[in-house]
Amino acid sequence: MIANFIGVLFDGIAYGSLLFLISIGLSVTLGLMNFVNLAHGAFAMLGGYVCVMLMTRWGVPFLATLPIAFIATATVGAVLERTLYRRLYKASHLDQVLFSIGLTFMAIAAATYAWGPSQQPVRLPDLLRGQVEVFGLQLGTYRLFLVAVVVAITFALAWLMEKTRFGAQVRSAVDDADVANGVGINVNLIFSLMFALGTGLAGLGGALGIDVLGLDPTFPLKYMVYFLLVVAVGGAGTIRGPLVAALVLGIFDVAGKYYVPQVGAFIIYTLMVLLLIAFPAGLYGRRA
């Protein structure tokens, strides 16, 4: 019973870590550029397909596909930022929403065209399959691996934001882009780099997540609410907020589906509405 509960908790944490990894880029676009990017999940999906393609077509080992998925999506993100997103930073939220829903629809259609509507399989290396025993508990190896990767990336991000000159520049751009521009920070470049980093991480998350979240063309819509919720509740432009929100969300979702399956997605949507009502300002994080 207790072991069971801990197992669910652990699954929830692994799931939440993935949500965090994917959502952090959305937090960046919202906090830094004040842009509502509903197409964020499409970048995660792209990372997933890159991973699957590399493995099935060219036999690239799973672990090696991960950095490639990151780089590929980051590149696509950077190109789109330069050509399209940039024009809409000052546009109304309605325009941003319409534009990014448009991109999402296109991505879904394109993915269906290229890879068909079905779920993509992923074959994990033997090393990452099965269970390991930790303190007498049976934990899924892959989920343990996931959590470890996300913890490492979180520390790397925290170091980047808190300890480097680049991080300081990003933080001042979050506080006030105009002021940052005024003191000679190249805000445009920061926007591009952060956008690329955020989409790259989403791509990495998509690749890592195939085994947990699945991968099919409806991915961007299916998880859109989750990513938005993480950022909405956690607050944009920070690392800690979305991390906590993603973990809470992951645990609740997994536990809900495990213990009260008949209620299904109800829990998460109710949680979403309630949290938003409780923290309407959570959305803007430090900007409030």
Partner: protein, 339 residues
């Protein structure tokens, strides 16, 4: 004073006001011509009446969103919740022995309005983005509720066995869709006349002002919240009527009537025609649905690609949709013609 002079005197303030561009509720010839088109279709295109009534119903749905989004400026991604609620209300009535259309319509409007009113208090809090997510969340909640309550709604199989009585006890809902079309057209027109009055009124002006600058409104003595609550409730009621029309004319309610896809497509139709101008809702819906019908040979997924592209193009190059672009073209043409 002669009669003529008296009339001229009475008409003066109105003419003056018009010259300054204050909203009047007077009908123009273009508008009359516009409404003659669907009437003509009834007589000339009798093979297409089924598609026609779908368009009319969806146009009413888009009109309801226009009040909320186009006028009051509340971006809603869950408006289908009220459409679906109206559809299920009317559908369940018809299925369980009450097939009278008009009372079904009114009851559906009342149920949707109540739901709209209750949820409006959640929606009007917070800013753009919170609202967007709350509407999205509420839409998903309604969808899940209908999905889980399969013993009432039929779940994914949909609600069938909806039986309608004759309209006014006279007109049977025929297979050719004549009654359905005429019924939908009249309901749409009545709703449109109402919406038209509403947006030309002081209340409509205040909604536009809320959209333009909600923080300034309290300094004029207006409570933004109460205005939005009313607008959102009216929008929900009209959406409920549209849903009920669909249930009554197709005698079926599918789960997709509540879905996110429907909410999102509705926004697309509205911005395609031009939000915040009523006719944009009707024109956008008609074009969208005719194109969809034409391209129905295509896989629906590719259709989705074109919608997506359309959205991106509208946002980047055609703000204001078709009517917005037409306005700009007219203005440019006048400027050219003047000197």
């Amino acid at each position: 004073m002669t009669g003529g002079a008296q009339i001229a005197e009475m008409a003066r303030p109105r003419i003056e006001a018009m010259a300054e561009g204050l909203s009047t509720a007077r009908w123009t010839l273009t508008e009359v011509a516009f409404w003659l088109v669907p009437v003509a279709c009834f007589f000339l295109l009798s093979d297409y009446l089924v598609l026609g009534s779908q368009i009319l119903i969806t146009a009413l749905f888009a009109l309801s969103l226009d009040l909320v989004l186009g006028y009051a400026g509340v971006v809603s991604l869950g408006h289908a919740a009220f459409f679906g609620l109206g559809a299920y209300t009317a559908g369940l009535l018809g299925r369980h022995g009450w097939g009278e259309p008009l009372s079904g319509l009114l009851l559906a409007a009342a149920v949707a309005a109540l739901a709209g009113w209750l949820t409006s208090f959640l929606v009007v809090r917070g800013r753009d983005l919170t609202r967007l997510m709350v509407t999205l969340g509420i839409g998903l909640l309604f969808f899940e509720a209908a999905n889980k309550a399969a013993f009432v709604t039929g779940g994914v199989d949909g609600l069938s066995g909806v039986t309608m009585w004759k309209l006014f006890g006279v007109f049977r809902f025929d297979l050719g869709g004549k009654t359905a079309y005429a019924y939908s057209l009249v309901v749409l027109f009545v709703a449109f006349v109402f919406a038209r009055r509403l947006v030309a009124s002081p209340f409509g002006l205040s909604l536009r002002a809320v959209r333009e600058n909600a923080t300034r409104m309290p300094a004029l003595g207006a409570s933004v919240r109460s205005r939005l609550v009313i607008a959102y409730t009216i929008g929900a009621a009209l959406a409920g009527i549209a849903g009920a029309l669909l249930a009554q004319t197709t005698q079926f309610v599918g789960l997709d009537s509540l879905g996110f896809q429907r909410s999102a497509e509705l926004v697309v139709m509205l911005v395609l025609g031009g939000a915040g101008r009523l006719y944009g809702a009707v024109i956008g819906t008609a074009l969208f649905m005719i194109a969809q019908d034409w391209l129905s040979g295509l896989n629906p997924v590719y259709w989705q690609f074109w919608i997506g592209l359309l959205l991106v193009v509208i946002v980047l190059f055609a703000r204001g949709g078709i009517l917005g672009v037409a306005d700009q073209a007219m203005a440019a043409w006048r400027r050219k013609a003047e000197p």
